[in-house]
Symmetry: C3
């Protein structure tokens, strides 16, 4: 992407790629190459990580999958398969094959989660260390896919698990909210659980955390709490530009925060 | 589509195309050729029928419409115009012109419904027979587009109509839920009406039925009831791969069903 | 776009482009060139104005932005940046630079709104006059982005503002509902506020008004009230064809209105 228009309209400062803060992680579950090209041409500068959601990679044509990975990486974007896919591999005792195959396909990042597969936390830490030792950038995810199970995790335990995963080598820890944004810090309608969210923000090193926040109101809430440089995940491909407008006060939802503050 | 990656991760068995079971019917209401190419390259192996929703075909450029139909058929996918479009033709007394024109454009499948146009069931059966005699593969749809009217149809009547339509020549009978999934077996919020759904599943020959189920929770429910090989319809183009992950246990929502069962 | 198929199925009359009535205004917040090409090939005949939503234009590659504007205009479609973007410019005292830059990029239309930036109505009228004097087609928007603020505007005041803006030179006045359709004439769930909507329809010159109506039920309601030639805005790119089917009775939601009336 080249120069941007309307240069006289000033914007709040934003990190440049490769970013450590203000990271946007996109959830891609189906894009073909025309759509990938469109995404990179319109929003490539604003994307740091692409997650090929859950086990979708298993169902792609291998040549096409390699082409997608190559295109993302050529634009300075990390690419990882979904955490659930690694959990399926673990359930089949195939984690080594999974890592080797991911490496061979060109993935430079993997997500380690225990959202559905029953796994002791030490085993998860071991997977993180293993992936790091193979040269992967690692994101690890705290949270369960089923609301009932997720609600049983105490706030202190979430913080403690995140800290241990970072110590084991995770580049960032992801706070699970699923593709719909109705879990973890958010209730089943997608509203922010203020108490839990406030606790996590206060007790976590937020520049090491990616908050999954697929919905606009969730993104605006986090930006008003953490600023333009919040790390946000599970962003839909069509929402990358809209999210970036929220980050810099170019949309109604954060206009007052940036311009009337 | 060629070989799939991560071949060491095993998947539950799935029929190959041309499929009689485990059918996925996609609802296409607007795709241009770039999007069609992306869809075929990413998910062509997992699509059995494309429905060009309701009367959208009437508004397309004729050359483009033919090109789309050709592209789908070249990938082993049946293509039909929407049932409502045939109902509009019937309301204007133009059903013969409709069938002839559909044939000339290359459609190899038609949907026969009585969702909005008042029509005696015998007349619907006659349309099914007529379409079959012209060489079309026929899907017919049971249900009304307006909730109030739809709720008046007794469960026994739904089963009886489906049986008669199959006897008249329908390849599959579709259980109407609309593009939003808020009708028929689902309430206005999209939740499964357990009693009605259970009755239909018990009393219908489910491998001859396509259940419209546009939402993830509906798809997961049906897969857990009927298995990987449920016939599902009104799938959004971007949801074909996600649906296939549900069918084979590669997503959180059906992980336990396939891996912890 | 060329000839349409199924010509024997007759449709209610519709204006041809350039249209003064029955206008469809599309909200484009992220499309790349493949998607723009698809949109024009499938639905170009049914689009009158494209709004590049809020401040998204500021974040695009300048060359790509110019290419998009050119493509839309070459298909007889007006293109404007979003109203919020001009409000950001005003908040920075850069409205002149904004208009000059919009002109240089090729925009032939601008939207003037006061949805978030505090602005006296006389100042808004002045912006409308200024834009007209520079040769822009002007749409102006009545309504606030925050529900609490929006609800404070009396129905009479909405009508009076619209009339003054038309007198100042606006081509059409837009009734704000946001991208989600949960404001102005619609409640937070997107349902029509019958009393307010009825008042506005009765007291406004509706062929000079564009009603933002992103959801199907809102579009169907307005078409049943105002007919095929209602002016509708904030239409998603994928919904242009579906909207057009509602306008001409090719979808269940307006079938009865057109065929059983």
């Amino acid at each position: 992407m080249g120069a941007k228009p309307f240069g006289h309209i000033s914007l709040p400062p934003r990190s440049e790629k490769p970013r450590e803060n203000g990271v946007t992680m996109v959830l891609d579950h189906c894009l073909g190459m025309h759509a990938v090209e469109d995404l990179l041409a319109t929003a490539g500068d604003y994307i740091d990580v692409v997650k090929l959601g859950w086990g979708t990679s298993r169902l792609f044509d291998e040549g096409l999958l390699k082409e997608k990975i190559r295109a993302y990486k050529a634009n300075g974007i990390k690419v990882c398969p979904g955490g659930t896919f690694l959990e399926v591999a673990c359930a089949q005792g195939k984690q080594d094959e999974f890592f080797n195959c991911a490496k061979a396909l060109g993935f430079d990042c993997v997500e380690v989660s225990n959202g559905v597969h029953p796994m002791h936390h030490d085993e998860k830490l071991e997977l993180i260390r293993k992936a790091c030792s193979m040269g992967f950038c690692v994101t690890s995810e705290v949270g369960k896919k089923l609301r009932k199970e997720d609600e049983r995790i105490a706030p202190e335990e979430r913080v403690s698990m995140a800290e241990k995963e970072l110590a084991a080598g995770s580049w960032k820890v992801i706070i699970e909210a699923r593709a719909g944004g109705t879990l973890g810090m958010f209730d089943f309608k997608g509203n922010v659980k203020e108490e839990l969210a406030g606790y996590l923000i206060k007790n976590l090193e937020t520049d090491k955390i990616i908050f999954e926040a697929p919905n606009k109101s969730q993104q605006a809430w986090l930006i008003k709490r953490l600023g333009s440089e919040a790390n946000l995940g599970n962003i839909k491909p069509d929402d990358v530009i809209p999210l970036e407008t929220l980050r810099v006060g170019l949309r109604g939802d954060t206009f007052a925060f940036f311009h009337l503050g």
